[in-house]
Symmetry: C2
Subunit: 316 residues, 2 copies
């Protein structure tokens, strides 16, 4: 399990590769909600997702031998981009297994970062199984998308930046997919400023963490159904579930329409681009969360890898 | 006329208010153009436009008496936002004259920054005349959108950031409206690194600087017609024309369709939002400029204040 010291060490490693992302107060959203809204722009990370943090910190911990054996993962989305980016930064070979149905734009973006893309299987689970088999045979390091101490510590560096940039934060709203982002952020915040409320947000079509917390044990969904591909995990990990139990105050659910409306609101009133997963936390603030007057709320805009099709749906 | 020393002083002043904007290499655009493309993201300035730089530096030079008399300007767009933002930062009263036809979203954004908005006249010229009359009567300081030493020096701080962040720049592509942005950037670059090529970009429906440079004297257009409201100036200023003559290597013209295609390309391949004026420099790189192989080109994405209507046009 990651500790605050891991996050602080991760921040030192990441400083060699990344600039801290801006935290900007939104006058328009503060007026609209009656609270004090600050947006954390992970949307402008080099690959437009916070995943670059965990990927870089994970790869920084590989031994020279492990580096020459390369890394392997399965993902057709932001995690694949994060691993490919980090592998390029450390000059490590990367192989990313993707389902044969993967979006071609995303496949090209992963290839452009220098990773070897292997189409395998009809869905994520099958691609993941193929990646695990290949990992076993090749000796490459498998990089899990969220259930990994270093990955979680890397994502947690966001919390460190928040505390440095803004005083008296009351609440932080964070999307939940597998739980790596909220695990890292929640752990760091609660261990250092326990009075800050940590609120998770899931799409109602991918509510594995919500159900798991209710059940008191990991629940695996038969299927997930959401436009927020960045949050479409069928189950939390062992580590991320444990972190959420300890450090997350509540989980709110949002529907597809609410995420699309949040994307539109960000475009129209803040001129910011976000993907559905990135806008989910704002959707929760607008439509589900009841802030106190002047409550100081940070909304993590986790990424901006959105397709034209989804943008058109949001704007029409 | 601003000097490199003015730009360096402006950078010190701005550091109290703004974080330098990212300069990011684009793999996708480098692949597409065969050169080495770097994007300067003025699109994520707090008010989504570089104008905040000139506004802040201008207001930092007001005497205590001038500050208490307030500032006045005419604009229904990014300059109005820049002056309002700077006035709020320095706790100076600001009055912004806008044509009665001004976009309501933009008017609200200016008001939200605390400025007093006065609708006056059917177009920009009439609003400007009203602002000048009011300035004469009130003793407030009139802030010109571009033909002002401090405004130009403020915009020039972009060049200083470019030189600090990237070595061996060959070429910088910059949109031209009134010419304040390219005036500041071009002057600083050419005075410190004369080998860097400075290329201006205008919409073919607002080509006042292009025509003025061809004529060797300021040409005022009877009408401007472009979706790039950020570049819709009918004439360069005395100072900006002189700076362009000295420091701009060439001016390229782009059409409306090219700017819309550049907006779409930025969204789809870089997941970045830009307004037409902000995408004009990229449009020139894609469709008009002939870079040498591996030429290191910086594209200034000057702003992101784009309406849903224009975004829909770009995406459809």
């Amino acid at each position: 399990m990651p500790t605050p010291e891991d996050v602080e060490e991760a921040a030192i490693v990441l400083a060699k590769f990344l600039t801290p992302t801006p935290l900007q107060r939104s006058r328009a959203l503060s007026d609209a909600t009656g609270c004090d809204v600050h947006l954390k722009l992970e949307t402008i990370q080099p690959i437009r997702t916070f995943k670059v943090r965990g990927g870089l910190y994970k790869l920084s911990h590989l031994s020279p031998e492990a580096r020459s054996a390369g890394v392997i993962t399965a993902s057709a989305g932001n995690h694949g981009l994060g691993v490919a980016y980090a592998a390029a930064a450390f000059q490590v070979g990367a192989t990313v297994y993707v389902p044969v149905t993967a979006n071609q734009h995303k496949v090209e973006a992963i290839q452009r970062l220098g990773a070897n893309v292997v189409p395998a299987g009809a869905n994520y689970a099958e691609a993941n199984a193929a990646a695990l088999r290949a990992q076993f045979e090749s000796g490459a390091t498998f990089v899990h998308a969220y259930d990994d101490t270093h990955v979680i510590a890397g994502q947690g560096t966001i919390a460190l930046e928040l505390l440095r940039d803004l005083e008296d934060i009351d609440t932080v709203l964070v999307g939940i997919g597998g739980g790596g982002l909220i695990g890292g952020i929640g752990m760091y915040l609660k261990e250092t400023r326990p009075q800050i409320k940590v609120v998770g947000v899931e799409p109602n079509g991918a509510d594995a963490m919500y159900r798991s917390l209710q059940a008191g044990a990991i629940v695996t969904l038969d299927r997930v159904n959401t436009i927020a591909d960045g949050l479409a995990a069928s189950a939390p990990g062992l580590m991320t579930f444990d972190l959420a139990r300890r450090y997350v105050d509540e989980v709110l659910l949002v529907d597809e329409e609410e995420m699309l409306r949040a994307i539109r609101l960000l475009l129209e009133s803040e001129h910011l681009l976000a993907e559905p997963a990135g806008a989910a936390a704002l959707a929760a603030l607008m439509f589900r969360y009841r802030p106190a007057p002047n409550e100081r709320v940070v909304v993590i805009l986790s990424g901006a890898n959105v397709s034209s099709e989804v943008l058109l749906r949001a704007l029409q």
